[in-house]
Symmetry: C2
Subunit: 306 residues, 2 copies
Amino acid sequence: MKVIVTGAGGFVGRHLVNMLLKRGDEVVGMDTMAGGIPEGARAIAGDFCDPALQDEALEGGFDALVHLATVPGGAAEADPAASRRVNIDAMYDLLEKAAKVADCPRIIYASSIAVLGHPLPTEGVDDQTPLSPELIYGGHKAMMEIAVAMMSNRKAIDGVTIRLPGILARPKGPSGMKSAFMSDLFHALKAGEKFTCPTMPEATIWAQSVNRCAQNFVHAITCDSSKLPPTRAVTLPAQRMSMGDLAAEIARQCGASVDLVSWEPDAALEAAFGAYPPLSAQAAENAGFADDGTIANLVQSALETL
Amino acid sequence: MKVIVTGAGGFVGRHLVNMLLKRGDEVVGMDTMAGGIPEGARAIAGDFCDPALQDEALEGGFDALVHLATVPGGAAEADPAASRRVNIDAMYDLLEKAAKVADCPRIIYASSIAVLGHPLPTEGVDDQTPLSPELIYGGHKAMMEIAVAMMSNRKAIDGVTIRLPGILARPKGPSGMKSAFMSDLFHALKAGEKFTCPTMPEATIWAQSVNRCAQNFVHAITCDSSKLPPTRAVTLPAQRMSMGDLAAEIARQCGASVDLVSWEPDAALEAAFGAYPPLSAQAAENAGFADDGTIANLVQSALETL
């Protein structure tokens, strides 16, 4: 199978490309810099908005395209014009070109729970939760969810939109993401270092291990799209857990003391990233997507890729 | 009150502008040609995508902006690039500029039931029906519904999206709209002429008189946006009726014989425009929007503006 992956040098992209290469797929990886794209993939590096670069990636056709490249949340807030250019305009161009070079190709679009609001609706999220984004990132992601649905209804593409929860554990170091504390907790406890968590232990998050997330993308490549809702979009299942329970499980598996963690809540951060409501992801489960099953599984999987 | 109306020379636009002028509003009307914009409004004519034209309309600020200008359904299918340029890109530009010249201004966006699918979901439409457009027009309208919601959630604008059903009765003559048969029925029976309807008498449509529609826009200018759903979008209430019942009522009010109408169903046209499912427009009603009440009222109102 020939699979094009945009954002192939990113956190999720690298794991996905490696998984695809391992199973024998031919992978074309696009990213800003060639360096992050795993060896074994054909690397196409440069500005995602450049029409020539998109043409180069699509040349010769493909079986599936996984679109991960994005201007992420914080960067989109800081530069809405860049988000509009990359997250809407360039993606729309890519979809139109992809529909021309292949016959109703499978396109997997990485969207975000930010399309549902920020913070998320306190009463909980399910498959009836309407699109009501507040972040620039969530707004642009939601607009392109509609484009994917519309082009799929027209049979120009065979689209699958999956909305990602928090993905654990991101590499160490300053990512600029406000939600980085969830990953930093792993790095600290594995190293037996003290960690100050900017939430209460009772703060609730949704997460998936990066391996589980990559497996969901692999599933999306061949899943039966007739099992998707008419929007073609599903919110991925995720482990909903408290930061306290997560810390205890990481400590247990690392043989570290949970007392290394102190709790100094930052009200604004906790409201945005530590108050995730109950989640029902029935539509995604019906279409064969899955979470890690238990906190223990999630932590074990995340520690393996640390 | 200073109200900017785009598409001010169109069918709904002209009725709305006249209604606003009558109640003493200052109206700035934008349209491709100055000729269609009612006298009394300040006419700004030209290409809606032209940044200079948008700047001219917004200069000096405003109290509310009603956005009716659009590449309509058939034209959007024929030229998706034009629809993308006008219905997405230029509207997004306008929203961003409007948010800069005024403080969280009321923006009323004319969307369409095409955002819900084409044909509409057979099981019926209510406020939980997801956005799953198939027409280019419906797709682009739905994408910009999201932009209006996102900018409203950010308090950059105070948006109100209303989705229009069929509006009766459009002026006589070739409009190029496949749904023109609904209006042509009025013109024929009023003139006592024979009419061949391309549906069965049992075909069901949703409609509003143009006066009722314009009143809904006027209501949207000052309605309490906190009563809207989190999407800021409502499907307007409409009379759901059979073409046979509509023909009988028009004939009665015109003193014509309903036998002037013969029925020669066109299967494709009837599937698209003559099989409208049950409609619940509770969210719109909660926010104070209304339909004509009865078929008799709708017909009387439509005949008055013929």
